[in-house]
């Protein structure tokens, strides 16, 4: 909406003949200069306006630039101005303007440039056209000093109030959090990370530590550990009695403390100091906590039972004494996540083995019969001489077994296989009938031979060592045993030599199912985060109009950022545009939810907030305006050929490279990643313009991120605006005119209108000057830049694409509105909205 001017000024700018005075107010620290560029006024009050005497020391002006709004990104350039001051006369108590600089710091001097029409007298007749700060003095001579100024908005870039986690304020802070900003959040922000400002010292194990080991143990950094105390490594707590910062060692005195188990720990394991309390905070009080989380080893935020912690909102009456005015989460037990091995593995796998084996192994067999000989006696009784002669292989030598005496021989136990039958042979001469048994004293038979003869006894099975016994006790006989042997029938044990190779394939079938908890892991002191209802309005409802309400509507957030965070005043907020935008947000239920994790550039932050509320923002002479973009725009001013300067119209199209018709955007961010990570956006919306695709082919836009938007409807609306802006090239018109354009500002909507100079003339002047590309009284243009020259005002505009987006969606459009209003009559209705080429060669007929 166009700026409201005073009645006097409104009258004056309607005239093509203006008598204008431009003044500048320079607020040095200690003195204010009021300068002007000309003489005016009646005798006795020359150069006086509204009680202020201005000194005509301004020699010349540079162009005063409001700051261009990028038609594609909506980013806003800062405003700028420049002027030259006479440097040869005294001013401000110094001999010259430049000599003032020795008395007062010339940089960051607040500059306000204003205009009024001669004859004006009331304060409201003074129109501010720039507010900013001195930036530089590019030319300083004895004659003049040139002053350049940057817009007021630049000076708020670094004004965002915030606190850092520093070792002085938070000596017990987690080293990982030192140097980080205490996060701030708006709306119902999710997983806002809290800083561990008193969570004990954290380090890591610098060696493997075996269960039960005590004494000096190496750590990465023990400088923040108390001189003695308790630490936790993995799930085990242990005490130490002393430390060495130089060697980074703790002298462990006892393991498995406080009911924990003594286990091995690996090099690199997290080590935490055990305290009675652990505190995590953000940078301000919040309205409420919704949930609290602790991060596990996989980076997942694990919801904490409410009994695990105490949450303080930081509001009066709910503050922790050590952290007043800040939201705080207190754990009395170190927040540790231990995932246990409660896992059941259900394995139904089988192997379908189609492998064949090619065997080239050769067999070597000990044979089916084996003759073996005794190697010892295992029992003798009485007079037995030379028992070894019975197995010396000499059938002439003999073992004498005395009268009634006994001797038993055994064979080697070497196993050559499984014995079927063994035949025990004995060459013997006896003095009568002598009993023969096996070496286990089992009877085999008797022998009575007066001459040496071979006798054979058969034994089924038995051991390889099984021998033979002769015993003369029964019949009181003696014997001479010349030789003993046995022949064994057996199934041999085979030995393979050579190689074998496998061929074919094996197939695993079936499945493995894991049930129960996840893999074992322990995370000590993982990132603590919370779902919040964040900044809360004050008791007067300064920002929302409702005392203590959650600040989540975009206009309320911006107001809070500008006033509370950046230290400006309500006078720097344009109530008219903010009120209108607020009503729009209310109607469409627009809210935002986000966290600020790093020191923000306030200008960029404000721009992002506005953008994600489907709005434009801009600073006009030090006042912030919030211009929402409705589905259908209202024209603020119609300009005819009498208001636009001859040969000062320049038309152009937006870049072809900016044409895009297929978009996606992520939104609804979780903020615990402590970085501007699009992957943390949880949802996505998409938008495609089929007509543009048909015309130009698919042109993918960059993947967009609207992390501040929590809901899909709002995300879709913002994405659709982007689509509408980029789906076709847009016509831009730059032009200049007189002070009739004073009330137009960036964001305002204009139309062009023909006017006839003489009755009966064909009203083509402006239409032709616009190259026939603009439909008079129909196409709407948004002002995206405004430049004040001394004798003209220059505007840069961009056409709304084309007519407006609603035609494509088949709803309604500006043209239809005008038809309804009776401005046009449809002569031959067209099949509009169905692939029509709006703005070019339309099939409409309009009368």
């Amino acid at each position: 909406m166009a700026k409201t001017l005073s009645a006097f000024t409104t009258t004056k700018i309607d005239s093509p003949f203006v008598d204008i005075v431009r003044v500048v107010n320079m607020e040095f620290s200690g003195i204010t200069l009021n300068l002007c560029d000309r003489i005016w006024g009646d005798a006795g009050s020359e150069c006086v306006f509204n009680g202020t005497l201005y000194e005509p020391l301004i020699v010349s002006w540079d162009e005063i630039r409001s700051g261009r709004i990028n038609p594609v990104t909506y980013e806003v350039e800062p405003s700028s101005a420049g002027f030259s001051v006479l440097n040869s006369v005294s001013v401000g108590g110094a001999d010259t303007f430049a000599k003032l600089f020795a008395l007062y710091n010339p940089h960051f001097v607040t500059i306000t440039i204003s205009e009024f029409h001669v004859g004006a007298s009331a304060a409201e007749d003074l129109e501010d056209i720039f507010k900013g700060n001195t930036e530089d003095f590019p030319e300083m001579t004895t004659d003049i000093v040139s002053v350049t100024c940057s817009g007021f908005e630049l000076s708020i870039t670094n004004k965002f109030a915030h606190d850092m986690v520093d070792a002085t304020t938070y000596p017990d802070a987690d080293p990982d959090d030192l140097g980080k900003m205490l996060p701030q959040a708006y709306g119902q922000a999710k997983r806002v990370p809290f800083m561990a400002v008193d969570a004990g010292w954290m380090t890591s194990l610098a060696q493997n530590l075996t269960a039960g080991v005590t004494g000096n143990v190496d750590f990465t950094d023990v400088s923040g550990m108390p001189s003695s105390g308790t630490i936790q490594i993995d799930a085990e707590q242990m005490t130490y009695g002393s430390k060495s910062d130089a060697n980074n060692t703790l002298n462990i005195s006892a393991r498995e403390q406080n009911g924990t188990d003594d286990v091995d720990h690996d090099l690199g394991a997290t080590v935490a100091e055990i305290q009675s309390d652990y505190f995590y905070i953000i940078g301000h009080a919040v309205k409420a906590f919704d949930s609290v989380y602790v991060e596990d080893a996989q980076g997942n935020q694990v919801l904490q039972p409410s009994g695990n912690y105490t949450a303080y909102t930081g509001q009066s009456g709910d503050e922790h004494g050590s952290y007043p005015g800040k939201a705080c989460i207190k754990f009395t037990v170190l927040p540790i996540l231990t995932k246990q091995i409660n896992v059941t593995l259900s394995d139904t796998k089988d192997v379908d083995d189609a492998i064949t084996v090619t065997d080239n192994i050769a067999y070597s067999s000990a044979g089916a019969n084996k003759e073996i000989y005794p190697n010892a006696t295992n029992a003798t009784r009485g007079d037995v001489t030379n028992p070894a002669y019975a197995y010396d292989g000499n059938e002439s030598s003999k073992c004498d077994v005395g009268l009634s005496d006994m001797c038993s021989w055994v064979f080697p136990s070497t196993n050559y296989g499984t014995i079927a039958t063994q035949y025990l042979w004995i060459l013997i001469e006896t003095s009568g009938t002598i009993h023969v048994m096996d070496s286990n004293n089992v009877a085999l038979g008797t022998i009575n031979s007066a001459t040496p003869q071979w006798f054979r006894f058969t034994k089924s099975g038995g051991a390889w060592s099984l021998g033979i016994r002769v015993d003369g006790a029964v019949n009181a006989v003696s014997a001479d045993v010349f030789e003993i042997k046995k022949i064994v029938e057996y199934t041999p044990t085979l030995t393979k030599t050579g190689g074998a190779s496998r061929g074919g394939a094996a197939t695993i079938i079936g499945a493995v199912t894991l049930t129960g908890n996840s893999v074992a892991d322990t995370v000590i002191g993982g990132r603590v985060s919370a779902d919040l209802q964040a900044f809360q309005d004050d008791g007067s409802g300064t920002y929302t109009g409702t005392p203590n309400a959650l600040i989540e509507r975009p206009d309320h957030i911006l107001k809070h950022i500008i006033i509370d965070r950046c230290g400006l005043t309500v006078s720097e907020i344009d109530s008219t545009t903010y009120t209108a935008a607020g009503a729009f947000y209310n109607t469409n239920s627009y809210v935002l939810a986000f966290a600020i994790l790093q020191k923000p550039n306030s200008r960029i932050l404000i721009n992002e907030v506005a953008r994600q509320a489907k709005s434009i923002e801009a600073w006009e002479s030090g006042v912030h305006k919030l211009i929402h973009i409705p589905d259908v725009e209202t024209t603020d001013k119609s300009l005819d050929g009498h208001r636009i300067d001859l040969e000062q119209i320049f038309t152009k199209y937006t870049d072809r490279a900016d044409i895009k018709n297929t978009f996606s955007a992520r939104y609804n961010r979780h903020w615990d990643g402590y970085s501007n990570d699009e992957e943390a956006d949880r949802d996505v919306v998409t938008s495609t313009n089929s007509i543009s695709v048909t015309k130009y082919g698919t042109l993918q836009g960059d993947s967009l991120s609207f992390p501040h938007i929590p809901g899909s409807t709002q995300a879709q609306a913002v994405l659709d605006l982007t689509k509408s802006d980029l789906r076709f090239p847009r016509l831009g018109v730059d032009f200049s005119g007189g002070h009739y354009l004073t009330d137009l500002e960036r964001g305002d909507i204009i139309e062009f209108s023909n006017v006839t100079v003489n009755e009966g003339d064909t009203p083509t002047h402006l239409f032709d000057a616009l190259l026939g590309l603009v439909e008079m009284d129909l196409h709407q243009f948004r002002i995206i830049d405004k430049i004040y020259a001394q004798d003209a005002i220059k505007l840069e505009t961009i056409r709304l694409n084309p007519l407006y987006r609603k035609n494509i969606e088949g709803k309604y459009n500006i043209l239809l509105q005008k038809i309804i209003e009776g401005k046009y009559n449809i002569i031959a209705p067209d099949d509009w909205g169905d692939g029509d080429d709006w703005g070019d060669s339309d099939d409409w007929s309009i009368g």
Binding site: P16, I39, L53, L57, H642, Q790
Partner: protein, 249 residues
Amino acid sequence: MAKIKLYTQNILEDGTVTVTGTPDTGFPESRLYDRAISLYWKDTVTEAKNFIVDQGATGNVAVDFLAIEKHNFNSEDMQWQWSTDNFSSSINDAVTDWTQGDNNQIIKTLSTALTKRYWRTTLSSMENPKCSEIFMSYGYEFKVRFDSPPRLSDLSNTQWNQTVGGLERSTKLGDNRRVRNYSILLDTSSELDNFRAAMDYLDDYSKPFYIKDHESDYWMCRFQGTPQENPMTDENAITTIDINLIEML
């Protein structure tokens, strides 16, 4: 034959100036004699003011002209006086005391120039007095040639632009400035000496000065270019000089 007068010296510049009270920061007494008639001396008080200049014990110059620019002395009682003892006992009116009737330019002239050490202007007690210049000078008079007629014009400070629709619009950026081109006749060598003496006070033409133009209007001006002397005879018996003047605002 019409004449013009040039007032090129302000005795406040070389004398010692004393003004009652303390001026506002940034609006010093030096503003009273800086020849910048849009830069003010002012004092946020309610009191009478004496603007005194002491030319010193020697080298006093003659004075026959007082100009006070851009003031708010309407309805105030004023005096222009001289003294030989710093207004101890010697207090003499240069002109008859007067009550200022408006805030317009104040011009007082003497029929006979006076060479006095002390001069002052007094102002009755008023609220927040201000003025931009107090100029006490001696006027050098010269004859204007009408056989080579003056060229008189105004320099506009208005920008004109034509619109697409064919209309023209204007932006007035400042007031007109008078531009006067005179050819003056110096028919004695002493007049040429006077002219050159007058020029000596302009610090190599770097300062503005007052003129009483051929229509008897007084205004601050400067030279556009330097005066061009055109000797008509030997020994400068007759000389014409072309001067181009532009008004200072």
